[in-house]
C-alpha cells in the first residue's frame, strides 16, 4: 500500500470535518466550497500517491502492523526552504533498518537522479555531498550509473531544465520559478517535467506550511497539507508534526492521534519516533498517549525506548493530583516521579512533588522537594511552595523571611507573603520577631490596603502590650474594611486598655447592634465586675495553626462555658469565637486580680521584659517618643495602664512562661498610617489627653523655676483640677499674670499659661518679661510646640544657664519630633547640636541608639547602647542591644 494514502486520507477527512464544522458554525470559506480537489497532484514518476483514488481508511492499522515500505519516489527535498530545517528534527538519521533491497529513499533524490541522468558528475557529486550532510546515514542509490545510459539515446538535454534543477537544489525556489516562467513566456509549448513541478510545489508548500504553523494559521496548515500529499511522508516528519498540531489546535484530537499513529506505524527513525511522542504529550489526552505507546518497538535492530514518555505521563498524573487533595496519585506514579526528580537537573518534577505533598498533608516531604527545586532553580514557584510549606510546618520566621524576599515576583508570591505574615503575627504565644518583619510589612499593607495585615499588626501590638499602636492598626483595618467586626473588636479592646472611654463608647455605639461581643464588652465594663477567677485557659488558644480572626464571628466554636482564656493569659486570641452566653471576660477593666498593686504588677509582670521596659518615667523624651508607637510603645502602654486598671495584668502563675514569651519577644510595631476616614471616636482627643502628660515630665527635669512661679514640679498630668488665683490675665498686673501663668503650668494647662505669660511679657518690667518668656517657652515645650517655644525663648534675654537649658530642651524635643516622624538623620543632628551644649543624658542616648538602628547603622547603635549600659544597668539599653543584635543575627525560631 502506498505510504501516502493513509495520511492523506486522514488529512482530507480532517479538513472535510473542519469544513462541516465550519458550515455549522455559520461561516465558510471558498476553500471549503471547493474542497480538497485543487491540489495539482501530478502523477509521480514512480510509485504513487493518489489521494483521489485512495480508499479512505478512517482507522489506521493496529499497532502490530509492521512499518510500511516507503514509496521510492520521494518528496523530502530538504533544502528548498530557508527557515524550515525543523524537518531535521532530533537526530536526523536515515532509516537503517529497512530491508536492503529495494532501497528506501526517504531522502529526496530527484535532483540527484536528474544530474545522474544528465551525466553531470560535478553536480551529481555536489548533490551527494549535500544530501550526506543533511542525512548522515544516507547512502546514495547504487543504480545511478544506469540512469545516464538511456538518456544518451533520447533527445538532446535541455540546458534550461538543467538550470532549473540547479536552482532548485540550491534552494532558490523563487528564482527557479522565475526561470521557468521566463522559459514559458519564450516558449509557450514548454512543459515543466513532472518531477521538477512536484519538487517545486512540495518545497513551496513546505515553506508555506511552516510559516502558517509558526503563525498559528492552522487552517492554512491543513489546507496546504491536503493540497500537497507529497509533503506527508516520513522524510517530512516536521510537516507531519505540524499537521498533527494543527488538528489539535482546531479541536480534532482524533485526527492528531491518527497522524501520530501514522508516523509510529510507518516511520523508522527511533529518535523521530520518540520525538513524535514528545510532541504528542502536550497535545493529546493521557489515554491517547497511552494508546500510542503501544507502538513501541521492542524487537528488531531499531528498538524504541519510550520510558521517558511513561515517566512524563506519571508526572502528568501526579501533577493533576498535586493541587487537589481529593485526588491521590498511585504509589507507582509517585515513585516514578521521584526517580525522575532525583535524576533530572531541573526543578519541574521536584516542584510537582512539592505541591503534591503540600496538598496531601505531608509538609515535611513537601518541604524537601521544594527545597530541592529551589536549590536547582531559585524561582518564584519554588519560593512560594517552600514558604507555604515552612508555614505549614510552623516554621513561621523562615517562611516569612523567604516569602518576604520573593513577594514582588508574582501575585501568588505576594499572596503567600501576606498569608504567612498574618499567620506569623497571630501565633500564640506571640513569636519573637525581627523588627524587619513588622517594618517591612507596613508598606505592603498600606499599598494594598490589606486589612487583614493591619488587623494582624493590631493583634500583635495588642498581645505585646502596645495598645496605642494596636488601636491605630485596628483603626486602619476598619478604614479599609469598615464592616470588619474582628478589627472593631480589637479596636474596642485596645481603647479599653488605653482607658479612652469616649472613643470606646463611639465604637461600642457603632457596633453594638452588629456585634454582640462588642456590646457585651460595653455592658461588661460597668455591669459585670469580676468573675474570672474560675475561668481556665482552655479552648482555641492552645491550638496551633494560623489564625483567622475574620472567621471568629462567622464560625463560632462550641460554647465554652469556662473559656475566656485571655483573662488568664493576658493575651487575646482573635480566633476565639463569639459566644453570647459567655462574654469575653478578658476585657473587664476591673479584674479581681487588680487587687495586685499596679506597681507590683508592672515590675513583676513579664510585661516589663518588653523591649521598652517599664522603667520609671524619669525621662520625658522617652515618653514623648513613645507617643507615636516608636520603639517605646510598650512604655506608652505602661504609662496608660498604670493609671487605669489594666485588664491585662491578671497574669497568672499558671502560665508564666507563655505570658513571658508574650512580652519578652515583642517587637515594636510601627504605627499605622493616618486614617483617612474620620470616625467620631478618632484618636484626636486621646492625643490631647496624653501629650501634656508626657511633656509634663519635661518640667520634672528642668531646674525649679527661680521665682514666683509656684513650683515647677510637674505632676505628670495627674494633678487635680483646682483653680488658680482668680483673675483675668488681661486685666491683672504683670506680676500677677506671671504668677497665674506658673499656676496654670502647675495645673498642666499650658495654653492658658501662655496667655498669662504673654500679658506679663507685654506689661512687665525686664525681669518679669524674662521670667514670663521663660515660662512661655516651657509652656510651648509642654505642648510639643517646639517652633513656638524657640520663638518665645527669644522674646526676652535669658541668663546663660537658662538659655542653655531652654535650648537643650528645645533640641531634645526637636530630636524627638524628628524621630517620631521617622526623620532619623535630623534627629541625630538635633541630638548632636544638643550634645554640644549639654551632656547627653541616657534617655536621649537611647533615642540616638534607636535612630542609628533605624538608619541601619547597627554598629553605631550597638556602641551607644553599650555606652548607656556601662553607666549602670539600663533595661532600655538592654532592650536596644537586643533589637540590634536581632537585626544583625536573625532570631532563632520559636
Amino acid at each position: 500500500m502506498p505510504l501516502g494514502r493513509g495520511i492523506t486520507a486522514i488529512v482530507i477527512a480532517g479538513v472535510a470535518f473542519s469544513a462541516i464544522a465550519q458550515q455549522f458554525g455559520g461561516s465558510s470559506s471558498d476553500q471549503r466550497q471547493a474542497p480538497a480537489p485543487l491540489p495539482s497532484t501530478p502523477t509521480p514518476p514512480s510509485g504513487s500517491i493518489s489521494p483521489q483514488s485512495a480508499p479512505a481508511p478512517q482507522n489506521l492499522p493496529p499497532p502490530a502492523q509492521p512499518p510500511q515500505a516507503f514509496p521510492p519516489q520521494a518528496q523530502g527535498q530538504q533544502t528548498g526552504q530557508p527557515p524550515s530545517n525543523q524537518a531535521q528534527a532530533p537526530g536526523q538519521s536515515a532509516p537503517q533498518s529497512q530491508p536492503p533491497s529495494p532501497p528506501q529513499p526517504q531522502v529526496d533524490e530527484s535532483a540527484l537522479r536528474y544530474f545522474a541522468s544528465q551525466g553531470d558528475t560535478r553536480r551529481l557529486d555536489a548533490e551527494i555531498a549535500r544530501l550526506r550532510a543533511l542525512y548522515p546515514n544516507w547512502s546514495p542509490p547504487t543504480d545511478l550509473n544506469q540512469l545516464s545510459a538511456p538518456i544518451v539515446a533520447g533527445p538532446p538535454p535541455d540546458p534550461d531544465i538543467d538550470r532549473f534543477w540547479s536552482l532548485f537544489s540550491e534552494g532558490r525556489i523563487a528564482e527557479a520559478r522565475a526561470a521557468v516562467a521566463e522559459r514559458t513566456a519564450r516558449d509557450p509549448q514548454f512543459r515543466l517535467p513532472q518531477d521538477l513541478a512536484t519538487a517545486l510545489d512540495t518545497a513551496e508548500a513546505r515553506t508555506r506550511l511552516v510559516n502558517a504553523s509558526d503563525n498559528g494559521q492552522w487552517r492554512t496548515v491543513l489546507d496546504t497539507a491536503t493540497q500537497t500529499p507529497s509533503l506527508l511522508t516520513c522524510a517530512n516528519i516536521d510537516s507531519l508534526w505540524r499537521v498533527a498540531e494543527a488538528f489539535a489546535k482546531t479541536n480534532q484530537a482524533a485526527r492528531t492521534r491518527d497522524v501520530y499513529t501514522y508516523i509510529l506505524t510507518n516511520c523508522a527513525n527511533p529518535a523521530e519516533r520518540l520525538a513524535t511522542l514528545q510532541k504528542a504529550l502536550p497535545l493529546l489526552p493521557e489515554q491517547q498517549i497511552a494508546d500510542l505507546l503501544r507502538y513501541e518497538r521492542k524487537t528488531g535492530t531499531d528498538q524504541d525506548d519510550f520510558s521517558e514518555i511513561r515517566d512524563q505521563l506519571a508526572l502528568r498524573r501526579v501533577d493533576r493530583a498535586s493541587s487537589d487533595s481529593k485526588q491521590t496519585a498511585s504509589a507507582e506514579d509517585l515513585a516514578a516521579v521521584e526517580t525522575l526528580a532525583q535524576e533530572s537537573t531541573d526543578s519541574g518534577a521536584a516542584l510537582v512533588l512539592g505541591w503534591y505533598y503540600y496538598h496531601h498533608n505531608e509538609p515535611e516531604k513537601a518541604r524537601q522537594w521544594f527545597q530541592t527545586a529551589f536549590d536547582r532553580t531559585p524561582e518564584q514557584k519554588a519560593a512560594e511552595g517552600l514558604a507555604l510549606t515552612l508555614r505549614a510546618l510552623n516554621r513561621f520566621l523562615e517562611a516569612e523571611n523567604l516569602a518576604y524576599e520573593w513577594r514582588d515576583r508574582s501575585p501568588e508570591n505576594l499572596s503567600a507573603y501576606k498569608d504567612i505574615f498574618v499567620a506569623t503575627l497571630t501565633q500564640d504565644p506571640p513569636l519573637r520577631l525581627d523588627p524587619r518583619v513588622l517594618s517591612s510589612a507596613v508598606p505592603v499593607i498600606t499599598r494594598d490596603q490589606f486589612y487583614n495585615g493591619a488587623q494582624a499588626l493590631g493583634w500583635y501590638s495588642y498581645n505585646t502590650g502596645q495598645f496605642a499602636t494596636a488601636r491605630g492598626w485596628f483603626d486602619k483595618a476598619l478604614d479599609w474594611k469598615p464592616d470588619d467586626e474582628p478589627s472593631a473588636y480589637g479596636l474596642a479592646l485596645s481603647l479599653l486598655r488605653l482607658n479612652n472611654r469616649n472613643a470606646f463608647n463611639g465604637v461600642a455605639n457603632e457596633w453594638r447592634t452588629r456585634s454582640q461581643r462588642i456590646a457585651d464588652l460595653a455592658d461588661g465594663i460597668y455591669d459585670r465586675a469580676a468573675s474570672t477567677t474560675d475561668l481556665t485557659p482552655t479552648g482555641p488558644l492552645t491550638s496551633g495553626g494560623p489564625l483567622n480572626p475574620r472567621t471568629a464571628v462567622a464560625n463560632p466554636p462550641p460554647a465554652q462555658t469556662q473559656s475566656a482564656p485571655v483573662s488568664s493569659r493576658g493575651g487575646y486570641d482573635p480566633r476565639q469565637g463569639y459566644d453570647p452566653r459567655q462574654p469575653q471576660t478578658d476585657a473587664r477593666p476591673v479584674d479581681q486580680r487588680s487587687s495586685i498593686p499596679a506597681n507590683g504588677a508592672m515590675t513583676g509582670a513579664p510585661m516589663t521584659g518588653a523591649p521598652m521596659s517599664s522603667a520609671p518615667m524619669s525621662s520625658a523624651p522617652m515618653a514623648g517618643a513613645s507617643m507615636n508607637g516608636a520603639p517605646m510603645d510598650s512604655r506608652q502602654a505602661v504609662t496608660t495602664t498604670r493609671q487605669t486598671t489594666d485588664t491585662r495584668l491578671n497574669y497568672d502563675n499558671r502560665q508564666p512562661a507563655s505570658a513571658r514569651a508574650t512580652a519578652d519577644y515583642a517587637s515594636p510595631v510601627e504605627p499605622a498610617p493616618p486614617v483617612t476616614r474620620q470616625r467620631s471616636y478618632e484618636a484626636v482627643e486621646e492625643i490631647q489627653v496624653e501629650r501634656p502628660r508626657a511633656v509634663a515630665t519635661v518640667t520634672t527635669a528642668r531646674p525649679a523655676p527661680s521665682a514666683g512661679g509656684g513650683g515647677g514640679g510637674g505632676t505628670g498630668g495627674g494633678g487635680g483640677r483646682q483653680s488658680c488665683a482668680s483673675g483675668n490675665a488681661y486685666t491683672l498686673p504683670a506680676a500677677s499674670a506671671l504668677s497665674l501663668g506658673w499656676c496654670l503650668m502647675e495645673l498642666n494647662r499650658p495654653m492658658e499659661a501662655v496667655t498669662a505669660f504673654d500679658q506679663a511679657i507685654k506689661r512687665g518690667n525686664a525681669s518679669t518679661k524674662q521670667e514670663a518668656a521663660y515660662g512661655k517657652t516651657l509652656a510651648y515645650l509642654r505642648k510639643d510646640l517646639t517652633k513656638e517655644a524657640a520663638i518665645a525663648a527669644a522674646e526676652a534675654p535669658q541668663a546663660p544657664q537658662r538659655r542653655t537649658e531652654l535650648q537643650a530642651t528645645i533640641l531634645s524635643q526637636r530630636a524627638l519630633a524628628a524621630y517620631r516622624d521617622g526623620r532619623y538623620t535630623e534627629a541625630l543632628l538635633a541630638l548632636g547640636e544638643r550634645a554640644r551644649i549639654v551632656p547627653e543624658q541616657n534617655d536621649l542616648m537611647i533615642i540616638r541608639g534607636y535612630a542609628y538602628y533605624k538608619l541601619g547603622r547597627y554598629n553605631d547603635a550597638l556602641k551607644v547602647f553599650q555606652a548607656v549600659q556601662r553607666t549602670g544597668y539600663s533595661e532600655d539599653a538592654a532592650a536596644g542591644l537586643n533589637v540590634v543584635q536581632e537585626a544583625i543575627r536573625p532570631s532563632r525560631q520559636f
Partner: protein, 364 residues
C-alpha cells in the same frame, strides 16, 4: 476533478474579459467614470530594471528600504503590478512565489501585512492590510488573463472573495473598506469604524467585482467617493490618513493617529486619476495645494499647517500627473528620467508615469 476546475476557470476568464467592458459602479450620481487600465507595457524595461535591481530580492521579496528593509503586502502588491506593467513574467513569478509562501498564509485567505527579515518568525504582524490584498489580487487577475496563467486567476479570485468576506464591512448600513480584518471596525475601537481612503484603489474595484460578484463592490466604490466628498465639504478639506467615520455627520481624524494628510493619503489623487475619475470635486482642492506654492506635503488637516514638504521625484510626479490630467501641463524634464532612491516614492513615480504613458502621452 481537473476538468471541473478547468471549466470553472474558463468561466472565470470569460468574466474577466467582460470586466474590460464593464460599466461598473460609475453609473452613479458621480460624474466620474471608472476606467480600466491596460497597465501591461506601460512601464519601460529600463525603469523596471532600475526598480527591480534596487527593491526586489532574488527571493521575490520587495524591500521597503526606508523602513528598516522590511517587506509588506502593499510592497508585494505594487511589485506584482509593476512587474506586470513592465511585462516581466519572470519577475512577476518570482515576487509571487515569495508573496504566496510568506504572506498568503492567513486562515482567511488574505495576506499578513508585515514581514521583517530581522525577526523570528519573520511575520511580525499577522493582521492583513486590505490595500495590499487588493493590489495583489488585482495584479494576479491582470496577469492571469494577459498571460493565460490559471494559477494567478484562481488565486486572484480566492483573495477577492476573502476580501469581500472580511474586508467589506456593512455594519453601518453602508459598504466600507476596513483597513484590516482586526482593529478598525465599529466594535474594535471607540471611534470605529476607522477607514483609510487611500486603501480604495478604484481602478481595481471593477476587477474585484468580477472576481467575487457576490459582494457589494459597487457600494464600496460609491462609499469611498462619498466619504471623500464629505471630507472635502468639511473644514478639513483634506482627508487624514486615518479617518473616523463613526459620526456620520462629522468625520474626524481617528484617535491615536496624527491628524495628517500624510504618506498614505497622498496616493488618493493618483488612484482617482488612474481610474479616470478626473471630475471628482476634491481633486480641485488638492490641485490648489499641490500646484500652488505648497507642493506635495504632509499637512495637518485640523490646522492646515504643513509638517513636511515632500520633494522626492516620486512625490513631484504625483503633482505633475495631476497637472497633466487636469490642465494638460507637460511633465517637467527633470521628472522624465527615473532616479530611484527610496521604495515608496519610486513606486509612486512608476505608477504615475505608467498612467501618463498610457493615457496622457501628450504630457511627455
Amino acid at each position: 476533478m481537473m476538468g471541473r476546475r478547468k471549466a470553472r476557470i474558463g468561466t472565470l476568464a470569460a468574466l474577466l474579459v467582460s470586466a474590460l467592458l464593464w460599466g461598473g459602479p460609475g453609473t452613479t450620481a458621480h460624474a466620474a467614470n471608472p476606467e480600466t487600465r491596460r497597465l501591461e507595457g506601460t512601464v519601460s524595461p529600463e525603469n523596471w530594471q532600475a526598480y527591480k535591481s534596487r527593491f526586489v530580492e532574488g527571493t521575490g521579496r520587495v524591500i521597503d528600504n526606508a523602513n528598516g528593509n522590511i517587506s509588506h503586502s502593499e510592497g508585494q502588491g505594487y511589485g506584482l503590478m509593476l512587474a506586470f506593467a513592465a511585462g516581466d513574467r519572470a519577475a512577476f513569478e518570482q515576487i509571487w512565489t515569495f508573496t504566496y509562501t510568506e504572506f498568503l498564509i492567513r486562515d482567511d485567505g488574505l495576506a499578513v501585512w508585515k514581514w521583517d527579515p530581522a525577526s523570528t518568525p519573520k511575520v511580525t504582524d499577522r493582521n492583513n492590510a486590505t490595500d495590499g490584498d487588493i493590489l495583489i489580487a488585482y495584479a494576479l487577475a491582470k496577469a492571469g488573463v494577459a498571460w493565460k496563467e490559471q494559477r494567478y486567476t484562481i488565486m486572484a479570485q480566492r483573495i477577492a472573495r476573502a476580501l469581500g468576506r472580511t474586508g467589506i464591512s456593512k455594519t453601518t448600513g453602508r459598504s466600507i473598506l476596513l483597513p484590516a480584518s482586526q482593529g478598525f471596525g465599529p466594535n474594535d475601537r471607540p471611534d470605529g469604524p476607522v477607514v483609510n481612503l487611500s486603501y480604495w484603489i478604484f481602478e481595481a474595484i471593477p476587477t474585484l467585482a468580477q472576481l467575487a460578484p457576490e459582494y457589494d463592490w459597487n457600494g464600496l466604490w460609491r462609499e469611498g467617493l462619498s466619504i471623500l466628498q464629505q471630507v472635502n465639504a468639511s473644514k478639513m478639506r483634506l482627508p487624514p490618513d486615518w479617518l473616523s467615520i463613526r459620526d456620520r455627520t462629522q468625520y474626524r481624524p481617528a484617535d491615536g493617529f496624527p491628524p495628517e494628510f500624510g504618506y498614505n493619503s497622498l496616493r488618493i489623487p493618483l488612484y482617482l486619476l488612474r481610474a479616470g475619475m478626473t471630475d471628482v470635486e476634491w481633486l480641485k482642492t488638492i490641485k490648489q495645494r499641490w500646484l500652488g506654492n505648497e507642493g506635495v506635503a504632509v499637512v495637518n488637516v485640523l490646522t492646515g499647517q504643513i509638517r513636511e514638504r515632500l520633494t522626492d521625484q516620486g512625490y513631484r510626479a504625483l503633482s505633475a500627473t495631476l497637472a497633466c490630467a487636469l490642465d494638460q501641463s507637460r511633465v517637467p524634464d527633470d521628472l522624465k528620467t527615473f532616479e530611484p532612491n527610496l521604495y515608496y516614492p519610486s513606486t509612486l513615480y512608476l505608477l504615475s508615469m505608467s498612467l501618463i504613458g498610457e493615457k496622457y502621452p501628450q504630457c511627455l
